[in-house]
Symmetry: C2
Subunit: 327 residues, 2 copies
């Protein structure tokens, strides 16, 4: 059984999950190598190696997208919602959901190796899983994320993402809401709306545009070629997007990932869908976004201690490079 | 010339430092291997390989501690303090200091390989460097940190730490101050004082105690065997400690690092001295602390997106294990 604990000074949360290590002192072992094709539990024919299916897209030839619980979940829906600890040392049971979206039967490493219409099905599955998790009012927040490559934390090669839903809104997310709400109070304007208008007008950090979305290299990119996909219209909940938006996001995901893969020779990367909380209060003056973060440099003491990152490639230069790529 | 840029949504800062990469697209190369003895620029006889010395402890046999500017500084004192950008896209010149503390002439990897009285000189040097940097009123905040092992971001083996002083207080640090100030307003009590008293009374997460300090495994440890050294009396500025406290800290640093090295078979780790800002407003109801963070697990999308960490070793178990070690 895992437990959520809040840092009494910083307010951030940690999941203490002893059962994830096979033996008590098992953390000494080197990180696992991503599981290759021969032993891949996500390949067709090995469905019995995963816990029972939660959702799938299939026809008479078999499944194309498959969602299963994570075999080593950080959080579980079986827990009860209750506060623990005391005023100084707060805790909660490890309540939540931890799912894996297997994005295709093919043992490929990247979404970019799937045809466009299949990526639409994947993005549509992200949306429907978040819609379903939202029905459990105990789940405050959900994150769709993808780890590609060992440096980005992947333990399996086969193309997949993960979804974690948790009973609290992370402090890091909450502080974004507070900043944007403050701006709204002061200016009566939505800060992400202003930011996107500013970026589209200036143009130097824009990689691509569609009717509903913009692809930009953010002003304060934490890593070379960090790329954001942002809705141009005011929208806080990813799971509320319509089918036309799903199709546009899928197309931009494919081209954006392809550009980053081309620029950095298929780097390890994380992909994140930052969306408003599933339940509870909605943030005011805040937008959902997708982040693609190439994991080029490691995280040393300076980054850990300050949250500052050192980026050797100005985002304007990265944007110009990505725009010029033939993809 | 580097530039500080603030994330317009999250408020966090990034240092855009193009000159740190030798060539524009140089980020493709694999991370450098820590520099071994044969080519070590920190070994005696190779003093000309570093920029000119800022401070040192020496006698007629040579230097024992030596402070030099980082050869590839993220920030420089030559810059002027001025705000840049606009209301949405804030920036500042890359003003600050980036120093390296070479902690001994011996080519050893760890502070634990130096005799106790030498560690006293090292801790004393941290204090005097922060005191000196504090004289530059443009420098708001300073961080002493140590990267040991490639996984923790070290690019040189030879025992050393770094000090970065910056013109803004990091958002991450600022949010701790706000939480503690809120507690002080509500309860008229210092939260870290309450926390330390609570920990010493409960005892299960305490590894060691001295008259002035406690060594604890924190309630919400982000990694197995994360260890904090905290002052028992109210104290916000590390650089204000007296000689007796320097000696106690040095002793606890040595025994704490030795315990962590024993438990995890000399892991990569980061060491951080979190102290109050050098200049500007002092935080209310907040303490300085030293953090030792073994870098066992990588940082994947979940941690990156939420600030949540998954820790497989409950801190109570880690504390019991560390207390029982013969060191």
């Amino acid at each position: 059984m895992s437990e959520l604990r809040q840092d009494p000074i910083a307010g951030t949360w940690v999941i203490v999950a002893p059962e994830r290590a096979a033996r008590p002192l098992d953390f000494r072992r080197p990180p696992p190598q991503p599981s290759a094709r021969e032993s891949c539990p996500f390949c067709p024919g090995r469905e019995s190696m995963t816990p029972p299916e939660i959702a799938a897209v299939r026809d008479d030839k078999g499944w194309r997208v498959r969602v299963v619980p994570n075999r080593y979940p950080a959080l579980r829906v079986e827990e009860e919602w209750r506060s623990g600890g005391d005023g100084l040392l707060a805790s909660m049971p490890g309540l939540g959901a931890h799912e894996v979206v297997i994005e295709g039967p093919e043992h490929v490493l990247s979404l970019t190796e799937l045809p466009p219409e299949r990526i639409v099905e994947v993005v549509s599955m992200y949306r429907s899983r978040l819609q379903d998790l939202k029905r459990d009012f105990r789940l405050a927040h959900g994150l769709v994320f993808k780890n590609v490559g060992e440096r980005a934390g992947a333990s399996l090669e086969h193309v997949h993402s993960q979804i974690i839903a948790m009973p609290v809104v992370p402090e890091r997310v909450h502080s974004e809401f507070e900043r944007c709400a403050g701006y709204l109070r002061t200016t009566k304007r939505c800060r992400p709306c202003d930011l996107i208008a500013h970026e589209l007008k200036e143009g130097v950090r824009v990689v691509a545009e569609t009717p509903r979305f913009a692809v930009i290299e953010p002003w304060a990119a934490k890593a070379p070629f960090e790329t954001h996909i942002v809705p141009r219209q005011h929208a806080s909940h990813f799971e509320a997007i319509d089918d036309a938006a799903v199709a546009e996001v899928a197309g931009l995901l494919q081209t954006s990932l392809r550009r980053v893969e081309r620029a950095l020779d298929s780097p390890a990367y994380n992909l994140l869908i930052h969306s408003a909380p599933l339940n509870g209060v909605s943030p005011e003056g805040w937008h959902w976004r997708i982040e693609i973060i190439p994991r080029i440099a490691g995280l040393a003491g300076f980054e850990w201690g300050t949250g500052f990152f050192v980026n050797t490639v100005p985002p304007e230069k990265a944007a110009a490079y990505l725009r010029d790529l033939k993809i």
